[in-house]
Point group: C2
Chain length 334, copies 2
């Protein structure tokens, strides 16, 4: 049943369906079908993944086993990549039991042996392309692929996330950083073989010409960090809040540290000046000439979409000021 | 069934039962019975609230309606204070329907009229004592109390949170700031009347001599921010992680932005040097002479306990390296 967003309890996540569809269309045009492997960590929502699949992207990227399991159970298991290392035998057994094509990232002898022991059929060799996180050195990639194959595990290719450059606001530097990272990934691929070169994210979707598939997630919803990069994408996700207190030179609304990921800093409120967030509050100075009163509603724009989504049980899909559907954020947890 | 923490899936919240009981005992001794009104926003867990109630603290402080409802349903509704403003008639009706004594903070004509319309029986006048968040001015407190009483709502007294001083690491400055804030609250109380002067938090529990009750929450679990204040409290909450990748000069474990509140910065890992957190990863340089390997487990100490808890479905209660119980974080959401 549709209703006015003014009747929703707050704080609540609003997802503007027109902006969402616009973003999905932009990426489907730029990266058709299997050229895009949407990363579900950004939205953790099988209903949204379904919408991506309907546009021809049948392979998905995940960061957690929970995301892999949830997508498989939702019938979206054509080609699931866990772009993360896991050594827990219980979790690996969960993956093996799925009615889905499952590929797992590995970057060490330990992760390969754990995958082989569990019966994982396919892996990608995860290569460090400049971000100090998971991923083997370029030099070790070939030997690790050989080890995996020796254990009876099929190696589909390589992955390497240029996460240290995707957020660079200087376009030339971002492109140069991407090119450099992908040269490392191609060197590794020459040793590893296989059909897959998986990389990228929202920030490099239009300049990464070397990867066979791009692992982008944030593009669907967007946030203030990616908003600075000037892509033809629209802000689709908002935190809907109620003003609960008004003082002489500031006001307080009911969104805060438990409804917003804060690692990228404060959310934004167009025209107003954000002062600070507390657990369940945001204090801000309203724009001059635009006073607010208790009971007014407002839309905060999250600074970082992924850890924001992870705080919420559901998302309200809205068209203008009317709700269209309620989507469960059903891939939370681990 | 108890099991080794080494068999738990990660990331997982561990709550050391000895440290917890120590912290609860310290506060029960300093603030016996109704002198402490534990704030459940820090733990969002009725099982932990039950443990606080068993020590004689039968009144609780909440930040959300969900917390109020959950405590009442758990049989902990003797005296519940919603220390936050709410104007949503649906949420206010939920409060009125509870089998519990319910008191709500109000700081404006709008919040008083909303409470009265909904049938809320008791309120506290919320006074701004220096933190720019909710709370009326000292000067307005008396008139607001009169307005509430005129609407048939009982005014139990005042509350005012000195949140701008509770984290001050300079003890003298903290005490002076607390004294100044409480002078403002007492001025308001002189106009408002009533038995209750509710204020304080973990950071001022031992110096706030003016409040009739202290609204402390973090003391039970603790974090690195409150850990700096030198109280006789122990770190009780940890994020249990697995090392999933090891490079030459750093390693990566599976805790990150979706399992840790980040507004106070990075978590801590004793002896190691934290580099940065990603959605599902923490990159760190192990301590010299203490290399780690894939599969090793470690305990991160959260920088801010409240928004950390809010990411998790459950807490593992542990004694040493053995699980004792699993507690649901059952007061999440709104």
């Amino acid at each position: 049943m549709s209703r006015s967003i003014h009747d929703l309890g707050t704080p609540a996540l609003l997802l503007d369906v027109d902006a969402l569809d616009h973003n999905l269309d932009v990426f489907s045009k730029a990266l058709p079908g299997p050229r895009l492997r949407p990363h579900v960590k950004a939205h953790k929502c099988t209903a949204l993944a379904q919408r991506q699949a309907e546009r021809g992207h049948r392979g998905f990227t995940c960061a957690t086993v929970r995301e892999m399991v949830g997508l498989a159970q939702a019938g979206l298991g054509d080609d699931l990549l866990l772009a993360n290392e896991v050594v827990d035998p219980v979790r690996l057994a969960q993956l093996v039991a799925l009615d889905a094509r499952v590929t797992v990232a590995v970057d060490s002898e330990a992760t390969i042996r754990a995958a082989a022991r569990a019966g994982i059929a396919e892996v990608l060799i995860d290569v460090n392309v400049g971000l100090p996180r998971c991923g083997c050195s370029v030099e070790d990639a070939g030997a690790l692929a050989e080890l995996a194959r020796g254990q009876g595990v099929s190696v589909r290719g390589v992955m390497g996330y240029e996460g240290h450059v995707v957020g660079n606001e200087d376009r030339e530097a971002r492109e140069a950083g991407c090119a450099e990272s992908m040269q490392r990934l191609l060197q590794a691929h020459a040793q590893v073989g296989g059909d897959v070169i998986s990389a990228g994210g929202t920030g490099t979707y239009d300049c990464n010409r070397w990867a066979t598939e791009i692992q982008a997630g944030s593009y669907a919803l967007m946030d203030t960090a990616y908003g600075k990069l000037g892509f033809p994408l629209r802000q689709a996700l908002f935190l809907w809040c109620t003003v609960i207190s008004v003082a002489e030179n500031y006001a307080v609304a009911d969104g805060g540290l438990k409804s917003l990921g804060m690692d990228h800093g404060n959310p934004s409120l167009p025209d107003a000046k954000l002062w600070f967030c507390s657990d369940e509050h945001v204090t801000f100075a309203p724009a001059e000439g635009a006073p607010v009163k208790v009971g007014d509603k407002l839309r905060l724009v999250p600074a970082h979409v992924d850890p924001t989504i992870a705080y919420h049980e559901q998302i309200q899909l809205v068209s203008g000021e009317t709700t269209v559907d309620t989507w469960a954020v059903d891939l939370r947890g681990w």
